[in-house]
Symmetry: D3
Subunit: 233 residues, 6 copies
Amino acid sequence: MKIKVIIPVSTNKWNESVEADYKRLKGPQTSIDIVHLKRGPEAIQSEYDEANVTPFILEEVTDALRHHVGAIIVYCFSDPALSAAREISTIPVLGIGESSQLFAMGLADRIGIIATVDQTIPKIRRKLTAKGFSSRFPSIHALNIPVLDYDQPKKVMKKALDVVSLMVNQDRIEALLLGCGSLFHMKERLEGHFSIPVVVPGEMALKHAEMLIELHLSHSKKSFMTPLPVKVH
Amino acid sequence: MKIKVIIPVSTNKWNESVEADYKRLKGPQTSIDIVHLKRGPEAIQSEYDEANVTPFILEEVTDALRHHVGAIIVYCFSDPALSAAREISTIPVLGIGESSQLFAMGLADRIGIIATVDQTIPKIRRKLTAKGFSSRFPSIHALNIPVLDYDQPKKVMKKALDVVSLMVNQDRIEALLLGCGSLFHMKERLEGHFSIPVVVPGEMALKHAEMLIELHLSHSKKSFMTPLPVKVH
Amino acid sequence: MKIKVIIPVSTNKWNESVEADYKRLKGPQTSIDIVHLKRGPEAIQSEYDEANVTPFILEEVTDALRHHVGAIIVYCFSDPALSAAREISTIPVLGIGESSQLFAMGLADRIGIIATVDQTIPKIRRKLTAKGFSSRFPSIHALNIPVLDYDQPKKVMKKALDVVSLMVNQDRIEALLLGCGSLFHMKERLEGHFSIPVVVPGEMALKHAEMLIELHLSHSKKSFMTPLPVKVH
Amino acid sequence: MKIKVIIPVSTNKWNESVEADYKRLKGPQTSIDIVHLKRGPEAIQSEYDEANVTPFILEEVTDALRHHVGAIIVYCFSDPALSAAREISTIPVLGIGESSQLFAMGLADRIGIIATVDQTIPKIRRKLTAKGFSSRFPSIHALNIPVLDYDQPKKVMKKALDVVSLMVNQDRIEALLLGCGSLFHMKERLEGHFSIPVVVPGEMALKHAEMLIELHLSHSKKSFMTPLPVKVH
Amino acid sequence: MKIKVIIPVSTNKWNESVEADYKRLKGPQTSIDIVHLKRGPEAIQSEYDEANVTPFILEEVTDALRHHVGAIIVYCFSDPALSAAREISTIPVLGIGESSQLFAMGLADRIGIIATVDQTIPKIRRKLTAKGFSSRFPSIHALNIPVLDYDQPKKVMKKALDVVSLMVNQDRIEALLLGCGSLFHMKERLEGHFSIPVVVPGEMALKHAEMLIELHLSHSKKSFMTPLPVKVH
Amino acid sequence: MKIKVIIPVSTNKWNESVEADYKRLKGPQTSIDIVHLKRGPEAIQSEYDEANVTPFILEEVTDALRHHVGAIIVYCFSDPALSAAREISTIPVLGIGESSQLFAMGLADRIGIIATVDQTIPKIRRKLTAKGFSSRFPSIHALNIPVLDYDQPKKVMKKALDVVSLMVNQDRIEALLLGCGSLFHMKERLEGHFSIPVVVPGEMALKHAEMLIELHLSHSKKSFMTPLPVKVH
């Protein structure tokens, strides 16, 4: 029961912490293979960044399919390349965004998302709307601290407390989704402070992947049809 | 990691098959405690039946809370007593309806539900709408074979093939949810016949419960607030 | 033309004022029979409370059906047991919540609801959403004064003026629904202060019941199907 | 308690039957004043027809306001001039379309509308959507017999049985709204045949008007603001 | 390629500025014929005003059809008489409201509208909802300066900066629609100040009309059916 | 006023017919520069194909920005790379899908889309939903003739007549969108046969681009924010 985790940025900066978290949480039969991209941008904030990592994600997916893994996780809250990857695959391909949105809807009625920077909000909103989920996610706010500064936890936490405070009191959210893989160290502190469930997307996707493997389930090939053969130049 | 499974009908008819299925699928650290109700109706088809099982489900939930289980599953697709049970609980209480609806939305865009009898359709539809999910579940049809006749598998399967055929071809569903705990033996045959994922609600809820226990997550106490003390006569 | 009014709490605290209001408003041919519950909680704030009153409401409904009343009103804004009661009945069963929500939509585009305590908001919101009405009710706020303290009208009114002020100015509501049977003494004062229609749910339900009796109309037995016979233990 | 009923077409063809129906149903204190228009088209099928009756409806409304009636009913399912009439009025102005749509939503989840001719369907649909009701009215079909031929009841009934049959079986409607004032003689026959509630819009509006008068309620002047003074040439 | 522009108010106050703007923007083959109404109100703020201009707009439309113009523009953001005019016409009839709403959705996800006075907001909101566009227009605010004072540009601009500031910062709009034909002089200043696209409705409608003429397209006669013949008195 | 048209497939098969169509329709001041891709797939049917053309589209967009064109059209109904292209651009970037969807909503209430193959339907539906347009596009059907066979017009037309017949009669569409750039030769025949407007997406995008250039408008940089600088490997 092997799960390949694609961290879709061209830095190994996150590999270690994701690995530690996944080792702690995975089931005994699960083996985890974490890769980052060799090429492309070091962070994904815009749809342009997303477009730029897509070919490299699909390369990693194709490689995973050759090596008979049980499931694939794309470790970015924006779920880049997710539909395309599912089209070429019959094994489960999960995005930490979609997985965590689904599970969060099982925890609360009104869910908030904190994003890293404003640049990512329109695309998160469009994806939620495309799935019909927007009524359940009435509040998305950004910390507006660039993703590569996220190793300064005090700065990030202070800003996070301010932003989430507003989301709880004004937008009346009842659970919080950490809308970037890089925010997961905040979970406990925010949970303690606001007394609402705080969801770490990557953790949801791991458990989601294990569950699908165990239940022999994968996405519908009618929703994500196998591409017709086409000449490529 | 103990999970209490409440089969909310006053017959032990389903205990054995649920137990077999759950034993096969549960994680190594999970122990399962399956109970049925001592009193109330033998089947849940209407909202009236649901009202009649509710007090006995809440008794079982209260009992489970005293015995320090890790999570509770209400094993009925209509999710009777779910919100009330969550209000009095801080541990996860899951309904096989909601859990499987969430997971199904991760497998396909357009999902169909087969129900046992027409009587159950309005309440299924109202609950999907209340959660904001109706755009993803465009097709709900009943087999209209009373739930207590479900031990005649040939009769059920023939009807099921007809009904699902219509749902796939006319309503264009891309995955199928078996909208009653009693239908789970059909999964493989329908999956083979229609080449779409067929979801057994009870299986989803089991994995969902294990996941929440492992991740130390439970429903928001802002969505399901602890009842204020009130005098009871 | 007899209407049975079920005040679904185990106190006779409200009987007198409801009776006075209904006597004043009822048509000449209408006779009113008001009952409260003998058992169960004294107030309904949570879905748990609602579950606890449901069996006793259904007993009263069954009793009413035996005594050939013309319509039944469940006098609680949460409409507990409403669908179940309709399933077992062919005469109209009305909830003061639903009746007043319907009529309020004939008075204004954007309607606000004031609730007693925050605990009741999630269930009010879920029920509005289940009926497809949420776009018309953009603002629900609680006074957060426990329902049993409602006999201190000054305290309640001061808080109400603050809360409704916010709903009118910020959420731009254009009519107000008093989201608990116990708030009806506020109608005139709030109406005068904010120049918007203020709707007393119980009054709407009375007129709604009379109208349905006169027009020989009742709820659809396709939306609220008669329960199939089932063995009960 | 005087109610003015405006039949907004330039023929007295309907006055008698509406009067008979209203006399039968009105409360003892209600007096009914039925008028038709002196000018304009003899039937309303298009939005163009609606535009052409609007000035004459507003004249009748203005006249009614001078004569201190208690409420005004515009007796046409399309509710022509309704918002404009409410703007210039503080007494209730009701349209038989809106009143019956509101009541029908209290009787069933999925409601069908039969219209006279296809020409009226787009405007009925737009008005339902504008009010946020479209999810509750999934089926609108026309008899396509011109409104002025409606005195041949056999022809109309045969067509109606065919059309409603399709709406019940295929679109799964659970109640039926007779989407033109001229169809009301069909109520009993269709109700008997299909076992679903059949709603006569005009009857709903009468009871709605009486209710609002008795409860001293009228539409919100924030939803239907009094027009600012403006120079007219 | 002649376009008739109907300014649907009984004043020639706007003719000159609309003409100047349209002359500047029109294509070389377009000729513009601008008319205002001889009768009716001098401004359109309420639905009542709208009802009062409708017959005169339809007269102008009928006149235009006799003179073989290529398209008709109704120059008012409320789009009075639009559907009726389309029913009697096979050439394009455009409203500056609808045209600009369509194009604005091609420029931004979340669009704000500034209206002249609060009186116009309910009808703008109802029309957006009727078209299914409300999720894209989350913010509508009025300047509340009567339309006939709009020649004092300083007063108007100061208020506009305040109002739009709130819309950008609190409601997070990403583009702005000037919701009255009389506001178009503000475009550049607001665009410079807030760095978002500011859309002048009349300009959109002109280009929309030219495009439809060039592409030989007009509205569907199934959405706007030709009125059936009816006797008119 | 130069418009660059990117036909995002690696074949020059469509260049000539697009050029002919655009030459015929463009304004006198417009110059058109049509390019196809040098690399990537020859057709776009799946989201996988879309992912594969995205980098090459963005290259062409970047190239266009260097050469100071006035607007860019991506000539594929799926609008591949549209958001990413807008993020890196301040000049208008239009997709023939979105442009034609906007315009079609100005022509009819209920619009149908014919697609080439079933594979493209899920992604078209998701994109419509993401924009909030799904209520206006109730019918999407595929011809299921691979895109590269589209030069056999008789075969295509016969199938199209069958499919559209069903869409008009059963789904009651009121206008038709040709959901692939390759279908545009069908416009006149289908329009004649069904008497509904038939929209050629590419033509809409051309006129849309000219309009935006003339009006000095472009997409909001708040909806499509400029990507933050990020290190790329």
